[in-house]
Each structure stands twice: as structure tokens, then as C-alpha cells.
């Protein structure tokens, strides 16, 4: 056992337990992929086989074509891109005001924004539905089953404001004075000084907004009722309910619904972990 380092020999029990944990986290993903490749003869074996003996790649194309998954993907990406762009702009502007400007009611407004964070989504989802239903524009049911219901209420995000404000407050005060002496107005100040210094904070905001939007379920489940609007999570859930016995197709759909985020995760895992644990996530 030359090749094993002394540190490892001392910690082998710890590694064993960590490895057991890792297996517990990986196996369900393996099971998802393995089942997604199983055809009828593999699926209905008791006990089940570890890997598909007759791999069936057609599960993916069949799942993709049974219900309008391309449409679901488009809806999700469209909604997520709009929300990310909106959140960056609205939170950036208001965090700028809270951090750098003086005005009446600053603390009061900030605190009333923060107080909304204490109320979880299921509590206001009914009254939100009634509000969106009664708003003008949109379709037959007001904003219900319209992109506006999925996008507009999420265009501002209190925690992003909080996060960016904290970040802006860490800037030295002299920075403002120096900029003003150089004849810098608020708009130039934002674009030439704040933006270049806030890339990391803005990335954090973008990442968690995108991930939370991609994975959000209850809100779009309630606010949509047709395939043309449904995002991927809701489409996937209905697919699972309708194809309850087609395990291969279900898992194929699950695989391609999580694939885009997992690809992003493998490239930016450090930022994603940081971003999500800074800010909290939704069910």
C-alpha cells in the first residue's frame, strides 16, 4: 500500500462515509438515465436490471414528440431570460438608490420591501391569481395563461436588491466624490464605475434568478392552462401524470429537462453553489 498517502490512511473511515453519501446522491441520477434507455422488455423485469440490456434510444425522440417539449423549452427560456434581464435592471437601479442616494423614507421603503420576503409563495398565490385574473389586457382570463403572469410579477426580486445594496455599500465613499469631481453624473457613474466593479454580484443574481425560474413549479402550474404557455416543469409534470406507466419515456423526458441546468452547473458550480446558498431557494 505504498501509493496510499498517510493522510488517506488516517482518514479512510471518513472517506468511506463520504463515498457512501456520494453514492446515495448519484444513484438516483444513474437510475434516471438507465431507466430512460430501457424498453418494455427491460422495464418490466422484477427485480429490475442495473443497466438496460436492450438499450432503446428512441425513448428520447418519442418523449420529445409525444407532447410539445420544444414549446415548453422555448417558454421556459423566454420567461427566464426576460425575468433575469428585468431583475438585473430593477434591482440594480433600486439598490443604487438605496446605497448611494439620500431621500426621504429611504429606510422605511427598504424595510417594507424586505418585509415581503417573510411571506412564502403559497400564502399569496390565491390572491395573486385573483389579481392577475382581473387585470386588463392578456387573454380571456385577464393575465392568467399569458406570458405576463409568468414574467411580470417576478421582474423585481427583493433579495437581489438587498444583495446588491450590500455590495454597493462596500464601495469606498471617496469613489463617489472622485467621480463627481470628474464630472460624472449618476448614469455614467452606474455604467463606468458600478458595473465593472459588480460583475461577481450581478452573476450571482443572474444565476439564482435563472435557476429558480427554470425550476419553479407551483406558480406556473396555477397560472397556466394550455400547452402554448406551459414551462418545462409543468409540461413534464403533466407528461408524468398522463404517461404514468411509460417509465422509459418519463425518465427520458426527465433527463432532457434537467440536462441544460446540469451542464451549466458543471461549468459554473462554484458560482452556482455560492449564489444559491447566499440567497435561498424555492421548493
Amino acid at each position: 500500500m505504498r501509493s496510499v498517502s498517510p493522510a488517506f490512511r488516517r482518514n479512510w473511515a471518513i472517506h468511506l462515509m463520504l463515498l457512501a453519501g456520494a453514492v446515495a446522491f448519484v444513484v438516483p441520477f444513474y437510475w434516471m438515465i438507465s431507466t430512460s434507455l430501457k424498453g418494455p422488455e427491460d422495464l418490466f423485469q422484477a427485480p429490475p436490471t442495473w443497466y438496460p440490456e436492450h438499450p432503446r434510444v428512441e425513448n428520447f425522440s418519442e418523449a420529445w414528440n409525444t407532447v410539445p417539449f420544444p414549446r415548453y423549452f422555448f417558454n421556459t427560456i423566454f420567461v427566464a431570460v426576460c425575468i433575469v434581464a428585468g431583475v438585473v435592471v430593477t434591482s440594480g437601479l433600486s439598490a443604487f438608490a438605496f446605497a448611494f442616494l439620500q431621500f426621504r423614507g429611504r429606510e422605511g421603503i427598504f424595510n417594507s420591501f424586505l418585509s415581503t420576503m417573510m411571506v412564502p409563495e403559497p400564502v399569496y398565490i390565491i390572491s395573486s391569481y385573483i389579481l392577475l385574473y382581473n387585470l386588463p389586457g392578456g387573454g380571456r382570463d385577464g393575465w392568467i395563461n399569458d406570458y405576463s403572469a409568468l414574467i411580470v410579477p417576478w421582474l423585481a426580486h427583493v433579495f437581489s436588491i438587498f444583495l446588491l445594496r450590500q455590495h454597493f455599500l462596500s464601495f469606498p465613499r471617496d469613489l463617489v466624490d472622485a467621480a463627481v469631481i470628474d464630472g460624472c453624473g449618476p448614469v455614467r457613474f452606474i455604467f463606468q464605475i458600478i458595473l465593472p466593479l459588480s460583475k461577481a454580484a450581478l452573476t450571482t443574481v443572474c444565476l439564482f434568478t435563472f435557476i429558480n425560474t427554470w425550476n419553479s413549479f407551483l406558480w406556473p402550474l396555477v397560472m397556466t392552462n394550455s400547452d402554448s404557455i406551459r414551462p418545462i416543469q409543468v409540461g413534464l409534470a403533466f407528461f408524468a401524470q398522463e404517461q404514468g406507466t411509460e417509465h422509459g419515456l418519463m425518465m427520458a423526458a426527465a433527463v432532457f429537462s434537467i440536462a441544460p441546468l446540469l451542464v451549466v452547473y458543471f461549468f459554473a458550480q462554484r458560482q452556482i453553489i455560492e449564489s444559491l446558498t447566499h440567497t435561498g431557494l424555492k421548493g
Binding site: F25, I130, G244
Partner: protein, 326 residues
């Protein structure tokens, strides 16, 4: 009280007083219209009859009277409490365990953390779907493993019997209905929720552990403390704020469990025999199913909010008073 005169040099010119509000306007319009207004009107809605967005008559406190008289509501409340009581300690203990193993620059920390965090970025919908197959009675992985080890297969998500009853039955005990505990089906959902959230809590605990200054451990070592002693007298007390935060956040999130119930249980959702019907699913069903009454569902929402509010306030109180800060 803020000054009337703008003191920031960025606010020169005659628009200086108005400028801050213009910057706030976009966020304020969204937050006031789509957060504050729905939050404040949730209470008002619960005093009306409302179906599919249309407000009908004023009914006063009738929704609450109906709600508290509905055994189905109490069933979902009890199930939710069981869910929380099961999920929170399991999640906190497991993630603290892994965080303790992972600290002190163990080799492969980054890789382990990446793997443990994987379920956190995966949607709850996909996660629930695969776990439903794992718990499948005939073709599932869970029963395959049990049979391989020589045990009797279980009914998992189709098992309405309480787990205390299941555990004590082989000993010849027969518990009264009220003492049977949460159904095995509900425990399956607990396991899945905990599995999905561990990575998140591990990262929070790791950050908390990093904040404990190394010299405390050195002092303890000089005083002759062993591993257990160091945990009891250094790690545990100094980690209290983190532990407390994790407990409260996990509790608040657990009260809102919805997606895994919706996707793993039934049909009908909440089954078998209503043993996995939780409060948010009850709210969803009463508000949005055919013949739903949104006023009634809003009353459910307010009861949920009351519980979560009490927890939040309790957290603040305890954090102020009792938690040990480093």
C-alpha cells in the same frame, strides 16, 4: 429621519430630490403591485366567496368556521406536522454529519460538495419522478435491494399504515389508530425532500464551521479535550447560530412541501387514504380544482402564514437572546 437636502453629490441639479424615486420606481411598481398588494389582500379574500378569480359575496368568518370544522383540513395539518417533524431533524443531522466529515481540507472536498449539491440544482419535478420509480413496488430499486438482503419487500408509496405500527407489528403489538404515526408513504416523501436539500444545508454548515476560530480548538487541545470533548465544548456551542438558521429555514420550507407530494403520491394525489395530503396541496386542491373556492383556500393560506410567522418571530427572539455568538 433623512435630510431634506440631498447630501449625495450625485444628486446635484434641480432633479436631485426626485431622482432617487425614479430609480426606485420600476422595482417599487412590481413589488407593490405583485407582492404587497396580494399579501395584504390575502386576508381580505378569505372573508369572501370567490371562484376562479371572480369575487362573489362577503361571508365574514365563515371560511374559517368551515375550515376548522373540516376533518380533511385537520388531516392535512397533522400530515404536514409529521412531515416537518420527520424532515427537519433528519435533514439537519445528516447535513451536519457530512459537513463535519468534509471540513479541515479533506481531499476531494470540492468533488464531494459538487456531488452533494447536485440534487439542489435539479428540479423537484424530475427528482420526484425518479424517486417514484425507485419506490415502485414491483419494478423499483428500493425493493430490489431489500430482497437482495433477504428482507420482505415494502409497499412504500402505496402503504397507508403508520410507521410505528409497521415497526411494532412484527413484535405482536397492535397500536391504536392515533398512535400509528405518519404513513410509510409520507416517510418516502420525507426521504426524498431531505435527499434533495442536504447539499444546501451542508454548504451552510461548512461556512459556519469555517467561522469557528482555530485557536479555540488549540485551547481545547491544550486542556486535554478529545474529539468528543471538542465537539461538545467548541464546535456545537459556536455553531449554534448556523444550526439555528438551518433548523428554522428547513422548517419553513418543509411547511410548504408541495411538488413531491403532487408528483409522487396517488392517484389520487395525497393518497393512499389521504395520508400524504399536506397543507399546501389541500390549499391548491380547494382553490383551483373544479368547484374550488378561492376564499376558502385563502383562509387555508392565512393559517399557514400564521404558523410560519410565529416561527419567524420565534427565530428572531431566540437569536437575540439565547444563541451563542463567537
Amino acid at each position: 429621519m433623512a435630510d431634506l437636502e440631498p447630501t449625495s453629490p450625485l444628486q446635484r441639479g434641480k432633479w436631485g430630490h426626485v431622482m432617487p424615486y425614479l430609480f426606485l420606481l420600476p422595482a417599487a411598481i412590481i413589488i407593490v403591485t405583485f407582492r404587497l398588494l396580494p399579501i395584504l389582500s390575502a386576508l381580505a379574500v378569505s372573508f369572501f366567496d370567490a371562484s376562479f378569480g371572480k369575487i362573489r359575496g362577503f361571508v365574514g368568518l365563515d371560511q374559517y368556521a368551515k375550515l376548522f370544522a373540516d376533518p380533511e383540513f385537520w388531516n392535512s395539518a397533522v400530515n404536514t406536522v409529521w412531515f416537518v417533524v420527520g424532515a427537519v431533524p433528519l435533514s439537519v443531522a445528516t447535513s451536519l454529519f457530512f459537513a463535519l466529515l468534509l471540513r479541515k481540507g479533506i481531499r476531494g472536498l470540492g468533488l464531494y460538495r459538487t456531488i452533494y449539491f447536485l440534487p439542489v440544482v435539479t428540479s423537484f419535478v424530475a427528482v420526484s419522478m425518479v424517486w417514484k420509480l425507485i419506490f415502485h413496488v414491483r419494478f423499483g430499486l428500493a425493493n430490489a435491494l431489500i430482497e437482495k438482503m433477504g428482507g420482505n419487500p415494502l409497499e412504500w408509496l402505496e402503504e397507508p399504515t403508520g410507521i410505528f405500527e409497521l415497526m411494532l407489528r412484527p413484535l405482536g403489538w397492535d397500536l391504536p389508530t392515533w398512535a400509528e404515526g405518519p404513513s410509510l408513504a409520507l416517510i418516502c416523501v420525507v426521504i426524498v425532500s431531505v435527499w434533495r436539500g442536504i447539499g444546501y444545508n451542508v454548504v451552510i454548515f461548512l461556512a459556519g464551521l469555517q467561522n469557528i476560530p482555530e485557536h479555540y480548538y488549540e485551547a481545547a487541545r491544550i486542556d486535554g479535550a478529545g474529539r468528543a470533548g471538542m465537539f461538545r465544548h467548541v464546535t456545537w456551542p459556536l455553531l449554534t447560530p448556523t444550526t439555528f438558521y438551518v433548523v428554522v429555514m428547513t422548517t419553513i420550507l418543509s411547511f410548504q412541501v408541495f411538488a413531491p407530494i403532487y408528483l409522487m403520491t396517488g392517484p389520487p394525489v395525497g393518497g393512499p387514504l389521504g395520508t400524504t395530503n399536506v397543507i399546501v396541496y389541500y390549499l391548491f386542491e380547494k382553490g383551483f380544482d373544479a368547484g374550488g373556492n378561492m376564499g376558502y383556500a385563502s383562509a387555508v393560506a392565512l393559517v399557514l402564514f400564521a404558523v410560519i410567522l410565529v416561527l419567524t418571530l420565534f427565530q428572531r427572539k431566540v437569536v437575540e437572546k439565547r444563541v451563542h455568538y463567537a
